[in-house]
């Protein structure tokens, strides 16, 4: 994270009128779509509670579920690898691809592989990773960065994508900015790569401990191409994505599409269990990724961030995200969930993120597994404040101490109110420019309420 962190990055993003328009329109549309399909379910709140309970059960017994998953996947003919951090995971995947003698891999959209920077690690080994999700392809071709969990190119509009495709893809001179035409151009570009790929790489939405089944949900069908066509399939899965039982999918597969794309059901749900002869990949590797997650699990309040199913409803609902966009969070996980996940996965590197929220509660309200994001934000603020060294952020600390002192005794509060009345004559007091740059300060009254009360009695 840059030295001044979120406030500075947000300040820059807010000046981009194209970004503001693209993002404002997109988030408003998805918000309305989600609200529509959630309203039609009379048992939505019960579903959310069920989702929360499943994730709580998962996290409290995580070690056991993971061992069971390993047993089930192995029994079904797959191989399980354990990766402590990004470096280990990248090494495991690169070695597996190199062992196949492949110089190219096709990828399903996956946040876990983005989190560990897999594409860069593969490139260092001379292996080209091809993103096949339309939005990921847009990001990759434009040498851009994702700004949304589900809609990585949400900051781009059709005109920008058309211009990019005309630059980057062959035979696109007559390309229009119709969504169907843009998708067709990407399809022509990708089809050939699907057919020649020997290794596919995916993430996982869920991994069922009971059966060893991995689940990937998507909208375009590219994911299913990646998980079925190549001879070798490698899945990188964060350890918190495990589910205890097959029946847990019933709840999750209702919660996820309605919360993420605002659909009753997502177009493609791929489920596979190990390997079978004559159908799909011949070799299947599951890489279980920790990369800081065990540390998050140790925090009793913060651990609920690991319940996230990456639906992105909190991003779309967030008044901060929907104005500044994803890049200001300087993490693959932006928005409210990013503001509680990134500082925990990368301790000390993202200390401004817990403040990137007005605590309006819109994120908590839409979260399909009821992660109390405002609660965790406040908890993480406390952790940052307690971890500050002497002299760090001295003005705030002094102000908080002073106000705490005044509030500890009504007589001191009365005195402070009298001082405020005097100070109130200063219209632009130093230290409050953050407020006064855009807003007037209220005029302190002639008498406080408690003075009035005392006089009236």
């Amino acid at each position: 994270m840059s030295a001044q962190g979120f406030p500075r990055a947000a300040r820059e993003a807010l000046t981009d009128s194209q970004l503001r328009a693209n993002l404002g329109n997109a988030t408003r549309t998805i918000r309305a779509k989600r609200a529509g399909v959630v309203e039609e379910l009379p048992d939505w709140e019960a579903l959310r509670e069920a989702g929360r309970a499943i994730k709580e059960r998962t996290l409290l017994g995580l070690d056991g579920w993971l061992e069971q998953l390993e047993t089930s996947v192995t029994a079904a003919g797959g191989t399980v690898h354990w990766a402590r951090d990004a470096g280990e995971a990248n090494r495991i995947v690169s070695d597996l691809v190199a062992a196949e003698g492949a110089e190219e891999v096709v990828k399903v959209k996956s946040l876990a592989t983005d989190e560990i920077g897999l594409n860069g690690a593969l490139a260092e080994r001379g292996i080209a990773a091809i993103e096949t999700d339309l939005a990921e392809l847009i990001i990759q071709l434009g040498d851009d960065e994702q700004s949304h969990i589900l809609v990585p190119a949400i900051h781009r509009n059709r005109a920008e994508i058309r211009a990019l495709f005309r630059r980057a893809l062959a035979g696109t001179d007559d390309l229009t900015d119709e969504p169907a035409a843009l998708a067709e151009a990407a399809r022509r570009h990708l089809r050939e790569r699907f057919l020649r790929a020997r290794v596919g790489i995916s993430g996982a939405n869920f991994g069922v401990a009971e059966t060893g089944t991995i689940c990937v949900v998507e909208s375009e069908g590219n994911g299913r191409m990646c998980t079925t066509l190549p001879e070798t399939l490698i899945t990188v899965m964060g350890i918190e994505k495990v589910l205890p039982e097959w029946r847990d999918l019933e709840v999750m597969l209702q919660l996820l599409p309605r919360s993420s794309t605002g659909e009753r059901m997502n177009p493609y749900t791929s489920l596979w269990t190990g390997v079978r002869s004559g159908d799909g990949p011949r070799r299947f590797h599951l890489v279980l990724l920790d990369n800081g997650r065990t540390n998050v699990l140790a925090d009793e309040v913060g651990r609920q961030a690991l319940a996230c199913i990456r639906c992105s409803a909190c991003l779309n609902a967030c008044p901060v995200y929907s104005r500044v966009g994803g890049h200001a969070y300087e993490s693959i996980y932006p928005g409210p969930i990013g503001a509680i996940l990134t500082p925990q996965l990368r301790p000390g590197e993202a200390d401004t993120l817990p403040w990137a929220s007005s605590l309006c509660g819109a994120c908590y309200e839409v979260c399909p597994v009821k992660i109390d994001i405002p609660r965790v934000l406040v908890h993480l603020r406390g952790k940052v404040v307690r971890g500050r060294k002497r002299g760090e952020d001295a003005p705030e600390r002094a102000a908080m101490a002073l106000m705490g002192y005044a509030f500890d005794d009504p007589r001191r509060l009365r005195l402070a109110q009298r001082l405020a009345r005097l100070g109130g004559r200063v219209r632009r007091p130093p230290g409050l420019s953050g407020w006064t740059d855009a807003r007037e300060l209220p005029e302190p009254p002639q008498e406080s309420f408690r003075q009035w009360w005392a006089r009236r009695r």
Binding site: F6, P7, A10, R11, L14, P319, V320, R323, V324, W355, A356, S357, S358, L359, C360, G361, A362, Y364, E365, V378, H379, G382, K383, V384, V385, R386, E396, M400, A401, M403, G404, A406, F407, D408, D409, P410, L413, A416, Q417, A420, L432, S433, G434, W435, D437, A438, R439, E440, L441, P442, P444, P445, E447, S448, F449, R450, Q451, W452, W453, A454
Partner: protein
């Protein structure tokens, strides 16, 4: 009914008219209002800023000061929310009496919607985040406002969007806060209302500060001030 008023540190210091209106309204409705003078602040600012120790001390003070109350009424959803939801997180003792936001008290406890107010002005109502999402007061404030004589109540577009206040957020992330405020002010002005009302003095200080900076000619009033107004 004997009612203990928790005025909030903000209204006490900067917006005493909110407290005076609350007292006038409650007394008109037959309540006996008491103001325990040892009260100061619920600790929300310290809690939300990460200063849990100071917040806990203030939470303990609150619970002690209001221990003998029959019911505590607060003209702020945010501070009532802090008491009901924040105190448990701090491990602070929960107050004995129920702690209710003004519209909750009027509609649920007193069972009134028509409080006998008269206010012949064009008004739009901003439902504050903590009233909507922490306390879930729903349409109680609107039911109270609709019963006011002479009022021309107009709907606020995208009303459930945060105004961008968020306590220290308004200063620490001033740019983002200002961008949120700009959209809220635009929505308020689009209604052509004279008054923007809400149930939290803090959010009103923010929206009002933005309106005043623009010399927009629309001012802010607390729900209590409208409900206290008579012919």
């Amino acid at each position: 009914m004997r009612v203990s008023l928790f005025i909030t540190c903000l209204a006490d210091t900067l917006f005493p008219q909110v407290g005076r209106a609350t007292v006038a309204l409650l007394e008109r409705l037959g309540c006996r209002v008491d103001f325990p003078e040892d009260q100061t602040c619920c600790g929300q600012m310290h809690f939300n800023s990460g200063y849990e120790e100071q917040a806990r001390r203030l939470a303990e003070r609150f619970t002690e000061v209001f221990a003998g109350a029959e019911v505590v009424v607060v003209p702020s959803a945010s501070c009532a929310g802090m008491v009901r939801e924040g105190f448990p997180h701090l491990g602070a003792p929960a107050p004995g009496p129920p702690v209710l936001e003004l519209s909750e008290f009027l509609v649920d406890r007193l069972g009134v919607e028509d409080v006998g107010a008269s206010f012949p002005h064009r008004v739009t109502y901003h439902p504050t985040c903590h009233s909507l999402r922490a306390l879930k007061v729903g349409d109680r404030p609107l039911r109270l406002l609709r019963a006011v004589r002479g009022i021309d109540l107009v709907e606020l577009p995208e009303a459930d969007q945060c105004c961008g206040f968020g306590g220290t957020f308004a200063v620490k992330n001033a740019d983002t806060s200002t961008a949120m405020l700009a959209d809220k002010v635009r929505a308020v002005l689009d209604t052509r209302a004279e008054i923007c009302a809400a149930g939290d003095a803090s959010c009103l200080m923010h929206i009002g500060g933005g309106l005043a900076r623009q010399r927009a000619g629309t001012r802010t009033l607390h729900l209590a001030e409208i409900l206290a107004a008579t012919e």
